[in-house]
């Protein structure tokens, strides 16, 4: 049939009117496209692998995937906040630790995807559950995790015949010797997240906590906190140097890598970077199991999850990407292996993953007998609990105590500040 000019104009006008009215593009010729915002992984090979997997995903499904990276912590939070406020941006976002609690009303319920993954790989690990399971609903899909542990200069320990510590008290005994050798213990006591990542496990190991599990009652004023502060005081005096008061998240890594610190509390990244950059200290660095205290053996975990914004117009396609990346065992394995043990699987049955056998120095990552939690545990990470974390009240309480404030005054200060936040 010949198409006259009048007929062409009539048809296209009607079509356009339809599209404008329904705000939906016609199915024919519509290319599904999703965008995914994630961080610059500390293991860069992992980002490269993610890009490769993304290209295969597009080839296999026809869904275009755009992956954007953003630097750690600060810019990430600002970006999330602006996307939520403007209701525009990426479809999927990678979230660290307790972020799903902050953005709960803006995140799609992804319980269906998590249920499928849990059927296949076993339950999500406890820290992923704490971070992404918000008020009975999975608001993000557990992706991987990387826990804190003990990284130390095995060569120096052997040279001085020092025993690998098993408890925080053992570390004090070893630390005194290390400081005499010019290789002090490096635990930051400053306004950064690594400070909280160490202060938390020490506090939990001595039986203390910031807020009770009811999420309301401030419990910082306890004998456990007193023991924690006294331990920090003697560590600061006899095993560390005042520089820890000024450290950033990267400082303890650098101190170990540059040959100064003899022991630090950190994820495996310090060793991985030393190995990648072929630093002279790399061979001498090893890891050991997390330290314990009278109340048990605890560790900070940094789980990561993938969330889908509710404003996304491509929720189904977004879920398809998550299923592709995490639900296909061979793809998930490939992704984890690329992370050089910095990114570990977030599901129970995958804990003894082959990545742990790629280097004998990853053996301690099995974390046997260690309880892993996120900041603020045992309280659920509500917005108030997160403000306590982000206001650095815990490391500031310790910093006050080690720089001259009486233990009870430092605790009283922290208790007052925490109570004000809980009341606000």
């Amino acid at each position: 049939m010949a198409v006259t000019r009048r007929r062409f104009l009539g048809t296209t006008t009607l079509g356009l009117a339809g599209i404008v009215a329904t705000r939906t593009a016609p199915a024919v010729g519509q290319t599904r496209e999703i965008s995914y915002l994630c961080w610059n992984n500390f293991a860069p090979a992992s980002d490269k692998k993610l890009s490769e997997i993304g290209q295969r995903f597009t080839k296999d499904t026809g869904i275009k995937l755009k992956i954007d990276h953003i630097s750690h912590m600060g810019p990430q939070q600002a970006k999330y906040a602006s996307e939520v406020q403007t209701q525009a941006g990426h479809d999927l976002v990678e979230m660290r630790m307790h972020f799903p609690w902050l953005y709960e009303p803006q995140l799609v319920d992804v319980s269906d995807v998590v249920t499928e993954l849990e059927k296949k790989y076993g339950k999500a690990i406890s820290s992923s559950y704490e971070g992404a399971h918000v008020n009975g609903v999975w608001r993000a899909v557990p992706q991987y995790h990387g826990m804190f542990m003990a990284a130390y200069r095995e060569d120096l320990f052997k040279k001085a015949s020092l025993k690998v510590p098993d408890t925080w008290e053992d570390l004090y005994a070893v630390g005194k010797e290390l400081k005499k050798m010019g290789n002090p213990v490096g635990i930051p006591i400053s306004q950064n997240y690594d400070s909280i990542s160490t202060a938390g496990p020490v506090l939990w190991s001595f039986g203390g906590m910031e807020v009770d599990k009811d999420g309301k009652t401030v419990k910082i004023n306890s004998p456990g906190t007193v023991q924690t502060i006294e331990w920090y005081k003697k560590m600061f005096k006899d095993c560390m140097e005042p520089e820890v008061l000024s450290w950033s998240d990267a400082s303890n890594n650098e101190s170990l890598q540059q040959g100064k610190a003899g022991w630090i509390h950190n994820p495996v990244s310090a060793y991985i970077v030393a190995k990648q950059r072929k630093l002279v200290t790399a061979d001498g660095i090893n890891h050991h199991r997390s330290l314990g205290g009278p109340a048990g053996r605890f560790e900070t975990d940094t789980p990561r999850h993938i969330g889908i914004w509710k404003f996304s117009k491509n929720v189904d396609a977004s879920k398809e990407w998550i299923r592709y990346l995490l639900g296909k065992r061979e793809v998930y394995d490939e992704y984890i292996m690329a992370g050089d043990a910095f990114n570990l699987p977030a599901y129970d049955k995958l804990q003894d993953h082959p990545v742990l056998r790629t280097d004998p120095k990853f053996a301690a990552l099995k974390g046997e007998g260690v309880q892993y939690h996120t900041y603020g545990w045992p309280a659920p990470p509500s917005d108030k609990v997160q403000l306590i974390t982000n206001a650095y009240i815990l490391p500031n309480m310790i910093a006050k105590a080690v720089t001259g404030t009486a233990t009870k005054d430092a605790i009283a200060w922290a208790e007052t500040e925490m109570k004000k936040i809980m009341a606000g």
């Binding site: 906040a81 939520v84 953005y103 009303p105 520089e243 000024s246 997160q386 982000n390 650095y392």
Partner: protein, 313 residues
């Protein structure tokens, strides 16, 4: 032969739309507002709208991505309750007061120096602007390395020259040193703005005034005190005004150098606001932090502009 008469009034030919538009545009009452409108739209969109939003947020319990409600001035009242905020408030005044004072004195000195006949005058004047031109976050990162406990070139130099006992000051870990460090970087960064603006003022002072003063027997100090300084007053007032506002709202230097630490000893309104508003999701309180000084700054602006006008007329 009569060749006919020309009609005395020809019927007016209808003006083309172009001619009509030209005629309308020729009217000042139309053209003026037309020129101003784009700027007004920009100000409305990029200044007025965000400012009104900030005002609304500051008086609401806004939390990222959740519905908010009007809460009056309770955010401002509650903030004052927090130890960290009171510390921030104090820090802002110490930081701004000391920085602006140093920048003013050093800026005048540098401008006087640059006003002399120097070799390579243009190169020197250009290079003085470098700290002002380099992106602050980048240059502060350089300073962070210089103050860093592990790599501090400041301490290394001090120890090598026998001026410091090893390991040297804990620049970013001790509250007074940390404040000194952030102030130092702010002075380093802000000095070119003072120096170059004051230099422009200096160049504009008529030479005759100095010649007359010299003829009256005035020495260099008297010439500076009775000619240079009074003539520079309007310029100095404007520079101080701008610098006070910029310094109060500084963010990059503290964020990169100390992250507000140790124990909140260097937090400024902008860094504290970011911590509350973005990192913890409490947009309402975060906006209240950043607007806390607004009334005071408005007063400073009003007072200084009034002073400048008096000087000018």
């Amino acid at each position: 032969m009569a060749i006919g008469t020309l009609p005395t009034t020809a019927p007016a030919a209808p003006l083309s739309w172009r001619a009509r538009a030209r005629e309308i545009l020729d009217r000042e009452r139309v053209l003026g507002p037309l020129f101003i409108t784009p700027a007004l739209i920009l100000i409305a969109l990029l200044v007025a709208y965000p400012f009104c939003m900030a005002l609304y947020f500051a008086m609401s319990n806004a939390f990222i991505g959740r519905p908010s409600h009007f809460v009056g001035i309770s955010n401002f009242v509650r903030l004052w309750d927090a130890d960290a905020f009171r510390q921030t408030f104090q820090n802002a005044f110490v930081f701004t007061g000391i920085s602006v004072a140093f920048k003013l004195v050093l800026g005048i000195a540098l401008a006087l120096l640059l006003n002399q006949q120097l070799w390579f005058k243009r190169i020197i004047r250009g290079s003085v602007l470098l700290p002002w031109v380099i992106p602050t976050a980048l240059s502060t990162l350089g300073w962070w390395w210089m103050f860093n406990s592990l790599y501090s070139v400041v301490n290394w130099t001090g120890i090598s020259l026998g001026l410091m006992d090893p390991p040297g000051p804990n620049w970013l870990g001790q509250k007074y040193y940390a404040m000194a460090a952030v102030i130092t970087v702010n002075i380093w960064r802000g000095l070119p703005f003072f120096a170059i603006t004051i230099l422009a003022g200096l160049v504009a002072i008529p030479k005759e005034l100095y010649e007359a003063a010299q003829a009256d027997g005035a020495g260099p100090w008297a010439r500076f005190w009775f000619v240079t300084l009074p003539m520079l007053k309007p310029v100095l007032a404007v520079v101080v005004l701008f610098s006070t506002i910029f310094t109060f709202s500084d963010f990059n230097i503290v964020y990169v150098l100390t992250h507000g630490g140790p124990i909140n000893a260097t937090h400024l309104f902008a860094t504290y606001s970011r911590m509350i508003g973005l990192e913890s999701g409490r947009i309402g309180e975060g906006a209240a932090v950043s607007l806390y000084l607004f009334p005071l700054l408005v007063f400073v602006v009003w007072a200084q502009l009034r002073f400048v006008r008096r000087q000018a007329y």
